[in-house]
Amino acid sequence: MSVNYGSKRVVTGAHYGLRDWLAQRITAALMAVFTLIVVLQVLFTSGPIGYESWAGIFAAQWMKALTFAVFLALTYHVWVGMRDIWMDYVKPAGIRLALHVFTIVWLLSCLGWAVQVLWRL
C-alpha cells in the first residue's frame, strides 16, 4: 500500500476518518425506519391503494418533514457509497474526479426534483 496520508493525500480520497463511515450507518438506519413507516401505513390502509390514500401518506406534515430528512440522508448515503466504488475501481485521479463530479450532479439533480415533488403536495 502506497503512502496516501500527510502530504501524499489523494485529492479524490475519502475523509480519512470515522465521520463518513458513521454517517453512512446512521443514514442507513434512518432509511430503514422510514421504509418500515411507509410499509406499515400502506398495510394499515383499508381497501385497495388508490391515488388518494397513497398521496395522503406523504401529504401529512410530519411525514413531509421526515421524507425530506430521508431524501437528504439518502443523498449523503449514496455519495459515500458511490465514492467508495469509484475509489476501488478507478485509479487515475482525473477520471475519478470527473466521476465524483458526475455523481454529485446526478444526486443533487434527483434531490432537487424529489424535494420539488414533496413541496407541492
Binding site: R25, A28, A29, A32, T35, G50, Y51, W54, A55, F58, V78, G81, M82, I85, T103, W106, L107, S109, C110, W113, A114, V117, R120, L121
Partner: protein, 143 residues
C-alpha cells in the same frame, strides 16, 4: 511442503469473463458483492425512482400515467419491460436493506465470526430472493 511449493496462479490484469467466473465466493462474499451491485444499480436508476414518486403522488392524472406504465407501457417502452426494471429495483432495495441490517447488527454487537458470517449471509440471500419472488409474483399479477 508440497502445498506451499506449488505455484499458485497469479492474477495481474483480471479478465472479467475468463478470471472472475473461476472465483469461488462463499455466501458472505456473494452478499458483499451483491450489496455493492444493488447499490450501484439503484444509483443509476435513481431518476426513474424519483419519476415514479413524482407521477404516483402529484395528481390523479399523473397517477394514471404511473399505473399505465405497468400495463400498457410508457412511450416506446412496453409494460412488461417496465415491470422487469421495477422488479430489479425491488430486488436491489430488498437485498441492500437486508444486507445493510446485517452490517448494522454485526457492527452493534461485534457479531463477527466465520459461522455467523456464513449463516447470516444465507439468511440474507434467502430472505431477499424469497421476498423478491413474492412481490414479483404480485407485480406480474400471478395472485
Amino acid at each position: 511442503m508440497t502445498e506451499l511449493t506449488k505455484k499458485r496462479p497469479e492474477f495481474r490484469n483480471i479478465n472479467a469473463f475468463k478470471d472472475l467466473t473461476t472465483y469461488r465466493l462463499p455466501p458472505a462474499g456473494w452478499v458483499s458483492i451483491l450489496h455493492r451491485a444493488s447499490g450501484g444499480l439503484m444509483f443509476i436508476l435513481l431518476p426513474l425512482i424519483v419519476w415514479m414518486f413524482d407521477t404516483s403522488v402529484s395528481s390523479e392524472l399523473s397517477f394514471d400515467t404511473f399505473s399505465a406504465a405497468f400495463s400498457t407501457g410508457l412511450g416506446f417502452i412496453p409494460g412488461w419491460f417496465f415491470k422487469l426494471v421495477v422488479l430489479a429495483i425491488i430486488w436491489a432495495y430488498l437485498h441492500h436493506l437486508i444486507a445493510g441490517v446485517r452490517h448494522l447488527y454485526m457492527d452493534s454487537f461485534h457479531a463477527v465470526s466465520k459461522a455467523f458470517g456464513k449463516s447470516s449471509a444465507l439468511v440474507t440471500l434467502v430472505l431477499s430472493i424469497g421476498l423478491t419472488v413474492v412481490l414479483g409474483a404480485k407485480l406480474f399479477g400471478l395472485y
